[in-house]
C-alpha cells in the first residue's frame, strides 16, 4: 500500500530525514518509535504533504501512485489521513462543517454524490459516541478551546468519519490519561481491517498494549535503525533508545 524508498527531506534548511525505507501493506499496523527529534513527526507531515518540507531525495508510492507528486488535499482524497500531534485550533470554522466538507471532498473525488445531511449527522453522532464525545463539540470551532485529550479524540473522530485507507497517527497517545487512551485505541481498532493500514508514531510503548502492531521500527537521526515485531517495542521500553543507537554503532 505504502512504499517509501530512500526518502530524504529538509525542513528550514536542516536535513531531518536521511534515507527512510519502509513498506506498509494493507491490513498491517506499524509503529514508528524513536527519541525526540528523531524525525518521526517530520516523516508523518512529509507524507501528508506539508509544503514547506523540501523533499531532497527518494520516492513514495501509495497504492502504486507517486504520492510526492500529489498536493496535500489530493493525498487526503486518495485515502491518506494524518492525525496531528498538535491539532490546529481554527476559531470560527465549525467542527461539523469541516468534517462534512472533508467527507464531501473525498466523495467527490471518488465520483460519489454529496452525503445526505441526515445520514451524515447520524454517522457523526454514532462515531462520537464511540469516542465518548459530547455532541456539543459538533458546533464548536475546530479544536477551539478543546483540551489536549479532546483534540486527540477529535482527530480520531475525523479519521472514523473519513475512513482512510492509510492512517498515520502522530503521537495520538501523548497527553492522554489511561481512560482516554483506551477510548482512542478502541476508535483506532474499530478501523482495523484487511483493506486498511495504520502507522502509529509514538514515543512510548504504552499505546501498543492497546493497539497491537504487526511491525515496529525505530527511527533515530532521520533513519530507521532497526525493525522488528512487537517484542522490539518491549525491548526498547526495557533498554531505552540509547541501546538502539549503541547497537547501530557497534
Amino acid at each position: 500500500m505504502l512504499k517509501i524508498s530512500e526518502l530524504s527531506a529538509r525542513v528550514a534548511g536542516k536535513e531531518l530525514l536521511k534515507g527512510i525505507n519502509l513498506e506498509v501493506n494493507a491490513g498491517e499496523v506499524h509503529a514508528i518509535m524513536g527519541p525526540n527529534g528523531s524525525g518521526k513527526s517530520t516523516l508523518a507531515q512529509a507524507l501528508a504533504g506539508r509544503e514547506d518540507y523540501e523533499i531532497t531525495g527518494g520516492s513514495v508510492t501509495f497504492e502504486g501512485r507517486d504520492l510526492l507528486a500529489l498536493p496535500a488535499e489530493e493525498r487526503a482524497r486518495a485515502g491518506l489521513f494524518l492525525g496531528f500531534q498538535y491539532p490546529v485550533e481554527i476559531p470560527g470554522v465549525n467542527n461539523v462543517y469541516l468534517l462534512k466538507a472533508a467527507l464531501n471532498a473525498k466523495r467527490k473525488a471518488a465520483g460519489e454524490p454529496e452525503v445526505d445531511a441526515f445520514e451524515f449527522l447520524a454517522l457523526v453522532k454514532q462515531k462520537m459516541k464511540l469516542m465518548h464525545m459530547s455532541e456539543a463539540f459538533l458546533t464548536r470551532g475546530v479544536n477551539e478551546g478543546f483540551s489536549g485529550g479532546e483534540k486527540k479524540r477529535n482527530e480520531v473522530l475525523q479519521m472514523l468519519v473519513l475512513e482512510p485507507k492509510l492512517a498515520i497517527l502522530d503521537e495520538t497517545d501523548s497527553g492522554l490519561d489511561i481512560d482516554a487512551l483506551k477510548v482512542v485505541s478502541t476508535g483506532v481498532n474499530s478501523l482495523r481491517d484487511p483493506r486498511r493500514a495504520v502507522v502509529l508514531v509514538t514515543h512510548y510503548q504504552r499505546l501498543l498494549d492497546y493497539i497491537v502492531p504487526d511491525k515496529v521500527h525505530v527511527l533515530a537521526g532521520g533513519r530507521i535503525l532497526m525493525s522488528g515485531d512487537r517484542s522490539l517495542a518491549l525491548e526498547l521500553e526495557r533498554r531505552g533508545y540509547d541501546w538502539v543507537q549503541g547497537a547501530q554503532v557497534a
Partner: protein, 447 residues
Amino acid sequence: MSPVVQSSTAAKGSPALRSFEQQWFARAADPLSALRERAMERFLQLGLPSQHDESWRYTSLKKLSAQSYVDAPRAPSGGLQPTAQLCLLGEDERAATVLVVNGYPVLPQRMDLSINGIEINSLQEVSRADRRLMSSFLEPLSDGEIGRWRLLNTALFVDGLYLKVSTRVETPLVILHVATADHPGTAAHPRVIIDALPGSSATIIEHYVQDGPDTPLFNSASLISLERDSSIEHYRVFATDQRTNHLDSLEVRQARDSRCRQFTIVLGGGLTRCSLEAQLNEPGAELESYALLVGHEERHVDCANVVRHAAKHTQSRQIARTIASGTSRVVINSKVVVDAGAAGTESQQSCRGLLLSPSAEIDSRPQLEIHTDEVKCSHGATTGRLDPNMLFYMLSRGLDRETAQSLLIYAFLADVLTGMSVPSARHAIENALIPQLPDPQVLRKFR
C-alpha cells in the same frame, strides 16, 4: 481659550482651510452661533490635522487640503438613485428609513414625527426649541486632534437629525445618508444626535451611500448619548465608491448602567477616516465596539478609537478585524484611557489584521493609558497572512485550497459578523463584503 497647541502649519492657509473659512463667514446667525464660533476659532487655530498628529500618522490629507470646497447642494438636481444602495434591512424587520441628503434630513412637515417609537426632528428645529440641550450635545468631549474635523462640522453643519429614544424600541431604524454633488469641490457636514433617555433601547443604523459619480467631501459627525440604563446598538456602514473622501467622527457618552454596542463597517470610499471617541462617565457603563475594515483595491481606511473610562466599574471591549487586498492600506489606532479614580475598570482590545496581497498594508496600534490601580485591561494585535498551519490542516482533510482559504477568511470575520443582532443587516453587510474578498463564489457557500 488654551494657547495654540502644536498646529499643523503645513495645512494652515491651505485652499481647503481658506474655503472653509469663507463658508463660515457666509453662514447666517442662528441660536448656536456662539458655540459654532468657538468651534471655528479653535479649528482655524489648530488647522487641518497632518501626519505630525499622533492619530493621523498614516493618513495624508495633502491632496484633500489642496482643493477648495463650496457647500454641497441641499438636494440632488434630479431624483435620487443611490448607486451603492444596499437594502440593509429586509421586510421581516419592519424597519423604517429616514433619508438624509448631504446632511439635510428629508422629513415631512410635521412637528411630532415619530417612527416606530423614535421621535425624529431636525437639528434646526431642536436648536430653536431648546438651545441649551443642543449645546450640551455639541460641546466636544475633548480637544484632541482626533476630533479636529468634528470642530469644523460643529461650525458648519446647517441642519441634521435628532433622534429621541424614550422607550424600548424593537424595530431598527435606518438613517440613509446619501452623498451627492453635481461637480467636484463640494463639502457636506452631516450631523446626527441620538439621545437615549433612561431605560430606553433601540437599534440605529447609519448607512452612507452615494448618488451619482460626484460626491462631496463628507465630514460627518454623530453622537450617541446614553442615559441611565439605556441601551443602543449602533451601526455605521460606509459604502460609497472609491471617489469619495469621508471623515466621520462618532462620540459616545454613557451614563450609569448604560450599554452601547457599536459596529463600524468600512466597505467603501477612497479615503475613509472614522473615529470613535467614547466616554464611560458613570459606574456600570458598558461599551462593545466592533470594527470591520476592508481595504480593497486602492482604498485607504483609517480608524481611530479612544475609549475613556471616567468612572469606576466600567467595561469596554473593542474588537477590530481588518483585511487588506490590492494596494490598499488599513490603519487602526485604538486607545483605552483609564482615569485616576476609575478603579474596577475592565477593558479588552483585540486587533487582528489579515493581509491578502503583498502590496497591501495594515497598521494596528492598540494602546493603553492607565492612571489607576485595580484594573483589568488587556490588548493584543496580530497581523499576518492566512495561517499556514490552519491551511495545511484543512488541506490534509481533503478540502481544496480555494475552499480552505475562503473558510479561513470567513472565520476571521466571524467575530464581528456574529456579534450583530440584526440578521438582515448582517446579511446585507455580508452581501456587500463578499465581492471584495477573494473567491466570492466559494465564500457564498458558507452563509
